[in-house]
Symmetry: D2
Subunit: 339 residues, 4 copies
Amino acid sequence: MIIVMKDGATKEQIQHVLDRIHAVGYKSHPIYGTDKTVIGAIGDERSRANPEQFQTIDGVEDVMRILKPFKLAGKELRKAPSVIDLGDGVKIGEGYFTVMAGPCSVESEKQLLEIAHEVKKCGATVLRGGAFKPRTSPYAFQGLEEEGLKILAKARSETGLKLVTEVIQPKDVELCANYVDILQIGARNTQNFALLREVGKTKKAVLLKRGMATTIQELLMSAEYILSEGNPNVILCERGIRTFETATRNTMDIAAVPVLKKLTHLPVITDPSHAGGSWDLVKPLSKASLSAGADGVIVEVHNKPEEAMSDGAQSLKPSKFADLMQVLKKMAEIEGKKI
Amino acid sequence: MIIVMKDGATKEQIQHVLDRIHAVGYKSHPIYGTDKTVIGAIGDERSRANPEQFQTIDGVEDVMRILKPFKLAGKELRKAPSVIDLGDGVKIGEGYFTVMAGPCSVESEKQLLEIAHEVKKCGATVLRGGAFKPRTSPYAFQGLEEEGLKILAKARSETGLKLVTEVIQPKDVELCANYVDILQIGARNTQNFALLREVGKTKKAVLLKRGMATTIQELLMSAEYILSEGNPNVILCERGIRTFETATRNTMDIAAVPVLKKLTHLPVITDPSHAGGSWDLVKPLSKASLSAGADGVIVEVHNKPEEAMSDGAQSLKPSKFADLMQVLKKMAEIEGKKI
Amino acid sequence: MIIVMKDGATKEQIQHVLDRIHAVGYKSHPIYGTDKTVIGAIGDERSRANPEQFQTIDGVEDVMRILKPFKLAGKELRKAPSVIDLGDGVKIGEGYFTVMAGPCSVESEKQLLEIAHEVKKCGATVLRGGAFKPRTSPYAFQGLEEEGLKILAKARSETGLKLVTEVIQPKDVELCANYVDILQIGARNTQNFALLREVGKTKKAVLLKRGMATTIQELLMSAEYILSEGNPNVILCERGIRTFETATRNTMDIAAVPVLKKLTHLPVITDPSHAGGSWDLVKPLSKASLSAGADGVIVEVHNKPEEAMSDGAQSLKPSKFADLMQVLKKMAEIEGKKI
Amino acid sequence: MIIVMKDGATKEQIQHVLDRIHAVGYKSHPIYGTDKTVIGAIGDERSRANPEQFQTIDGVEDVMRILKPFKLAGKELRKAPSVIDLGDGVKIGEGYFTVMAGPCSVESEKQLLEIAHEVKKCGATVLRGGAFKPRTSPYAFQGLEEEGLKILAKARSETGLKLVTEVIQPKDVELCANYVDILQIGARNTQNFALLREVGKTKKAVLLKRGMATTIQELLMSAEYILSEGNPNVILCERGIRTFETATRNTMDIAAVPVLKKLTHLPVITDPSHAGGSWDLVKPLSKASLSAGADGVIVEVHNKPEEAMSDGAQSLKPSKFADLMQVLKKMAEIEGKKI
């Protein structure tokens, strides 16, 4: 940690900072410049003594962190990329480009099975489908709950697709984990720490979506919650952040893909459906994601978008999805990735 | 709902939209302009047939909502401002300016009682203090949990201050409700719908903070979750949104206060400590909040900010808080508000 | 334009709105719903009578535009994509992927010629180099001005590369136009309307960068300024918008590429150097741009980044640029684009 | 400047950084921590050797500035607040709360004189009115230009009000300076450095608005451009930044007022009309500005908002403005400010 003193900070103020540094078990290292005094504090900033405490001391102008606040998600302890194995040859991470596809919500057995067969045929390996839906309005369709999970399980047994579904509160984690292969943490729960801890206690793969106002570093800290509970199977997902632009539902932060790849060993996928919010953006955004280094995408597919109970506007029809898969396969080949 | 057709939309496409409008039980009302056809669809958009379904229909360019998606939080059903009565003369809403103050975290009995007596003396009527702390890092202090609640209760019995504390997961709601007067939903849980429903099932007052990327309309929809469960005692709190500016921790959206006052009957307060992230911004932001029409503020006060386990940088020392209260009292008088 | 009246708007208020609609030469078309009255106003919203005037009328709740505010930039009058021909086979637009490369600033003849030969060898067709530099600080290097333009011209005559340079004020337009092939409008001048008009009076190609807080629609309106002066040769450039994320210099809005392609016939390129702000993001962001449908990229290349007078951190060394070109050529082939 | 080396940076890499530090004339001061090496570089970062050059050196992880990049705008050289004297007792700065009011655009002599007399009567001391209008659309009303300036001058001679008008390009500076007392730089030109230099060459007071995506630090750097040309009469203006919230036209960053007051000696005012974009927000935002420490406001007033050629929706009618002035006078008294 670097502590920058104000111009004209007094000797007493500087000494007080040094004393506080020693009191929390750090070593101090002052640099006396012509205008300013800067003090290096050497120690593990991830311990309880947090940098902001120093901010309040008289004479302190600024405090800058040096160490990244995450450990397990970073590359210090684990340099090789993590590959998550869901079994039956379905892997997520380095060397693979995994396509997860399906409807926003599980609406009925007929709907889900029909879509499941379609996406399977095109080459998807994971089926998505929401049984518990976090909706902005209390009056909107909230999902079929356990009945939805059962329908998902049936689709898996019929198609062999792996399953991903969103879990929205700690008490549902066990139930969902009994039915699916990947537990999804949605964008509104990226910093729902109680929920993160709960999925961390399982060994299930967790698809952790970035929140609309979550920084890349905060996303990694949320992953750290899961990892620190003992579950190493975390997949990160860029799904668009909130900005001033209203032409798209969110703004896909495509650079987050290579930035995350630089910072973490965890697999990184994107969600072009939610990022763009419009079905005709799914193809260019999926291609861009693959090119930027993503390990996969999660895409909304619906057989009758105009009757969908949620997210119809951003869902691909199966024929469009087939077309997308064709292109992605060609691109994955160039990149040396299995799809 | 208004549906705008693309230039050159065919008769068949227009007819298909009309058919869909009728199929979901709305009335249609087309306007044939020189360039474009626009179709009014008359019905309750808050029902299950949501506007976005129409977005996917061939030939449709855009869909615009007309009705506000919230009912109970709005002023249609309840025009008079709601005033929440915590008992013993402590009220929140029209005619009052309520000051809630205390440390970010309950750290010890000694710490809390000392601060409680200080803020009481200065004129605060509600004591804040976190027992369950939602922290970005899993390695940071997570709160004293039930022990913290007991300390809070002790402070209430000693000082007569009402209590507000944050609840971070559904299963803690009952426990917290047993100890405190106001349940706080933090900024990371504004759209944690499971938690909102749970606090909605109690009759406790709920302090609902706006999330960092929550729009004003979404905040009202989150309030709607609580209200629709039967709990009318919701207090909204502007606490800064996330923007590109890094000179402050967040950007206080001061206009949210009068905008909310126009849209809802619920009380609106602000959190100048989290909005600014720096103790020396608390005074100007508190004054600005009062002037903009807020019904109160929640302020962090700590007797030893440089030793605080969280949020020290934004905490006022008791002497600064006393000074703030002096100014607020003078201002409240001009505004005709009781403090 | 659609005018939404408040609940309980009076007959007189509605009549007043109708009168105003007729007064500005529009036709009115009221829809009386159960809760609200909505009035369609049929006419060209791009005329002087702007929608916001209606916003102030008593009883009006909201006003929504129907027509897009741009004409020449849109696809109504010109459906086919525009391809800008710089001569000697260098084209920008549909069917091409144009790579513009070079240093941020022209620093010396030696520097520029060396880089020019390098980028030419790798396959770039346009050389970038700033002679007039818009710098945040008045104390930073401001460019070699006309001397820089002369050096650029020399590089063109030696390599055959076309030239792009930034122009920062109306009075420099003629001078710059005498030397280069493309006039660049930088991100801080996207809405410098006097400058837009001035480049609109030339017939030179104009590279119009999106500002940090410019919406896609506003970018098109800025293009409209240039087009409406009679210059059809506008190239749009996504270069990152400003968001809360600080891990990158800006946030590349990759979806802006397909969204713009949908709205306009003008060529669209991206600037991965400024968007990411870091040399190691240039490759993934360039690839993503090509995949998302961009017609080219503009990339900063410097032979000695650590001595660059500006933007060293985001400049590629020539060897990295060579590597990038290899990949882009392979990708362009799949997309059926000439590079 | 602090240079943070990557984990495992080699001795050679560290030495290379030290060599570069010395090469640009700085002193080096390395700190060898257990995990990382951090190097302090002591020297004036505002010189040409800019921090980002160091970012590109192999083995460097991060570079942090220590010194603020502005000099003349800061408080190091001038501690006392600047008060700008426009003559005839009209002053802007510490101890005053100056109200500037008038229409967005000068539309006609009749319109302007009528409004001028109204705002004068209520206590405004400066009249605003645009003669050159920077409009998003080339098809919108662009102002009366010099004719508008003449009308403004007439209003001054009739009322004694001082004048502020926007200047949009360097060549108009002299013309505008001949007519008015304050030259306004609009939000789209905050970083139009050529224009800043030009107004810096005059001695006229300059009202510098913050751009929609301009940070507080960048605003001060833009002020520095004007100051460094020899013009000390700069007034800063917070007018709302662009965020995701769409309920208001922009988001007023109220904390920018006290933050700027801490960083600079220059006067700071706000523009509640543009920040909120709605006439009914002008009062609460003006009051909040005064309470937060602003030295004044600039407010749009129009006698017939629904016929205004620009910004009608955010303009106060004279009666509302009179009401606002009443409240502001009462508040200014408490704050010890002359209005």
